[in-house]
């Protein structure tokens, strides 16, 4: 073990030294990520790295529904496709324990990259394993959280304003609580606007990957969900299936039943975007990452769109998205990959990253006095990132996630059992998994 530690230390040192003197003219490194709007911004940004370091960049972008499968297979098979990977926050535990990612502590220390320069929630979620420990396996690359968009132009119509005020005795405005959100959604459901039937809200209901879990946790977190006892890790009974959690899940189901478009049984990011862009829904749940694109959309962008942070209920909280950038242990180009991270961590690069549509979480960007005015959704993004909560980041996260997908989808979409039964079964599933993992 000692020999292994020394060898690992020697390897890390050699990598760090290599990164410091990246004489890599003409070399090409591959960055792997999901295929979505921010990835295009990163391609644009990375041209500066190529110009500066002389390292060419290749990109492997995989559509979201296949992203986890494709990339985790690549890592598990010790593939050399990716030199750099922008992986989901939940992968950090497995990737650190299975040594898929290079540990970056020595590199950060040598290059003067300080984790204190990034938003604390993102460092905790995207970089550390074990959680909260000063062991870093990624640099926060893309902050993200679940937020909401709404049709500002519909909300501002005087006749709708008057009708809403008469019915609910308050202004038709972005909701502050989930109860208000449901009222607004009910108000718009099946309403005729410009000769077209519209619906209340597009929410996540997808079964296959992570959709319905990400959507339902937006409600569960707002009701104050704690997965386990803070004093006794992995003790989930009475926490995951608490009274408030049951109430939150029942509420999410009622929102799905009352106020979503027809056929909305398996919808995630793209279906939400389609529903909103085609003028089908008054509100849409989606990741902040899509908001720059929506803001510029010809049909629904500009003055027609508004944004709001995930509504509170008992507490203010948002589901965490986003990713950190890591160096893949099996890459033959680790020196160049580390040089990319060093370049990417610079405040100027981070500022440009934000200006191109990437969600930089460097304090030089988000603590700039003008940041909240730099985009119509910037203030909400900052607020959301102040109260994010993430799913389990354990090495067994995929199993934990699929269990939740099944239990929640069975209850919300397939009308199977009650919310209490669904969460009780989920606790049993998770207890079994953690027992297999040797954690309880």
């Amino acid at each position: 073990m000692k020999t292994l530690t020394i060898a690992a230390g020697a390897l890390a040192t050699s990598l760090v030294c290599g990164a410091g003197a990246a004489h890599a003219q003409g070399k090409t490194i591959t960055l792997c990520w999901a295929a979505w709007d921010p990835a295009n911004a990163l391609v644009e940004l990375s041209k500066d790295f190529t110009a500066k370091a002389g390292v060419n960049m290749k990109f492997e972008f995989v559509p979201w529904p296949n992203f986890a499968d494709r990339m985790l297979n690549e890592l598990n098979s010790k593939g050399k496709l990716c030199d750099l990977i922008i992986g989901d926050s939940q992968w950090i535990g497995g990737s650190a324990e299975n040594k898929h990612y290079v540990k970056l502590n020595d590199f950060f220390a040598k290059e003067g990259i300080k984790m204190d320069d990034f938003l604390p929630a993102t460092v905790y979620a995207y970089s550390t394993w074990p959680k909260g420990s000063p062991n870093y396996y990624a640099l926060p690359a893309m902050g993200d959280a679940l937020g909401w968009t709404y049709r500002k132009d519909w909300f501002s119509r005087p006749e709708l304003q008057a009708e809403f005020k008469q019915k609910y005795n308050r202004d038709l405005a972005p909701p502050k609580t989930w109860t208000e959100l449901k009222q607004v959604a009910e108000f718009f459901q099946n309403r005729q606007i410009d000769g077209k039937t519209v619906y209340g809200a597009a929410i996540f209901t997808e079964r296959g990957s992570e959709g319905i879990t990400m959507g339902a946790t937006a409600a569960l977190y707002a009701w104050g969900l704690q997965y386990d006892d803070p004093k006794k890790p992995y003790a989930m009974a009475g926490f995951t299936n608490s009274k408030d959690a049951v109430e939150a899940l029942e509420f999410y189901k009622s929102l799905y039943k009352c106020c979503t478009p027809p056929g909305y049984t398996n919808a995630y990011m793209q279906e939400g975007l389609d529903a909103f862009k085609s003028g089908q829904v008054a509100m849409q749940m989606n990741w902040f990452a899509f908001f720059p694109g929506l803001s510029k959309d010809e049909k629904v962008g500009g003055d027609k769109i508004g944004f709001f942070v995930n509504p509170a209920q008992k507490v203010e909280a948002s589901t965490l998205g986003g990713q950190g950038i890591s160096v893949v242990s099996y890459s033959p180009n680790q020196a160049e990959a580390l040089a990319y991270i060093k370049w990417f961590a610079q405040p100027d690069v981070q500022k440009k990253w934000w200006s191109l549509g990437g969600y930089a979480v460097h304090k030089a960007v988000v603590e700039d006095p003008n940041f909240t005015k730099s985009a119509p959704f910037a203030a909400d993004f900052l607020k959301a990132m102040g109260g994010v909560k993430d799913f389990w980041q354990e090495p067994a996260y995929a199993q934990l996630l699929l269990d939740m997908q099944k239990r929640v989808h069975d209850y919300v979409v397939a009308d199977k059992g009650t919310a209490k039964e669904a969460l009780d079964l989920l606790v049993k599933d998770w207890q079994k998994t953690f027992t297999e993992e040797g954690k309880i």
Partner: protein, 313 residues
């Protein structure tokens, strides 16, 4: 000297002598050896390896975790899991429904095509088209056809029934979604059943019908006493092929519903895929695969014995 004899005298004899020194049995083994090696490598070894893994805690995404024997724990977990039994029930319902419908429709189509009406060749080709398509293509375009707001299927139903097209969802409704899959599978694979039944119908000699005509047997009686019994082995063969295929049905269900809504259409192979390649419980999924294999193999054997008995009659 004839030309053939001349050629024989100039042809070198050495190689022929070498081959002649091998026994027929050795030569036969030499010919089949590559196939046997290939079969062992591709079929038998993975099967044995899967059996071995099914008794361990092995996970393909955690190579660094020490391998531990868990005995029959996975088999016990699977056979006592309500979720697995639910998936098996969904599979059984799907297999029974598709086979019943496809057999009746397939045989009816074969009987019609066998009548040799004008243009029957063209119609046979048209009927066979769906089974020539890739399941991935079929799954994708039926997903669009079933779309409640823009899909053609809902509009066709609406045209005939007057129900608003977006008032029902074939893939999202708990009652309709299993039938949506049955419909697509029937559309795609009924031609296959038809083809096998057609072979059965064409194998019945004409003189039997002629003898029946002489005995003044009605068409109805001819059908029940000649056509159906003589085509029965072919029908049973079609049922066997379709049952095996549909027991392990994956692609179509995955593309159409992904097992949803909830777990309404989660057939056994979808559960197996989730356990093996999403949860990475390789040992557990190996045990599940073995159970499915034994089930199919056992049922198919019983069926084949019944089929042989029927042929002997």
């Amino acid at each position: 000297m004839r030309f053939a004899e001349k050629v024989a005298t100039v042809t070198p004899a050495a190689p022929a002598r070498r081959v002649r020194s091998l026994s027929d049995r050795t030569i036969a083994w030499l010919f089949i050896a590559p196939t046997i090696v290939l079969l062992l490598a591709i079929n038998v070894f993975p099967l044995i390896w899967t059996v071995r893994l099914s008794f361990t805690n092995y996970r393909a995404n955690r190579m660094n975790v020490p391998l531990r024997d868990v005995g029959l724990q996975h088999y016990n977990d699977i056979l006592t899991s309500p979720d697995v039994w639910a998936a098996m029930q969904v599979t059984a319902r799907f297999v029974i429904a598709t086979i019943l419908i496809q057999t009746v429709l397939g045989f009816a189509l074969a009987w019609l095509v066998d009548k040799k009406f004008r243009g029957h060749g063209l119609w046979t080709t048209v009927i066979l088209l769906p089974m020539m398509l890739s399941p991935a293509v079929v799954g994708n375009f039926w997903t669009f056809l079933y779309q409640p707001q823009i899909g053609l299927f809902n509009y066709v139903v609406s045209f005939f029934t007057g129900i608003p097209p977006s008032s029902f969802q074939m893939l999202g409704d708990l009652t309709l979604s299993p039938w949506a899959i049955v419909l697509v599978d029937t559309w795609m694979w009924t031609p296959y059943v038809m083809l096998i039944c057609l072979a059965g119908l064409r194998s019945i000699p004409d003189y039997i019908y002629e003898a029946a005509e002489v005995d003044r047997a009605s068409k109805w009686r001819q059908f029940w006493t000649i056509t159906l019994p003589m085509a029965a082995p072919f029908i049973m063969l079609a049922v066997l092929f379709r049952a095996i295929e549909n027991f392990k049905m994956f692609d179509m269900v995955n593309l159409l519903t992904g097992g949803g809504p909830g777990s309404t259409t989660e057939v056994a192979s979808i559960t197996l895929k989730r356990e093996a390649f999403e949860k990475w419980r390789t040992g557990y999924s190996s045990a599940f695969a073995i159970i499915l294999f034994v089930t199919v193999f056992g049922l198919a054997n019983i069926y084949v014995k019944a089929l042989n008995r029927l042929k002997q009659r």
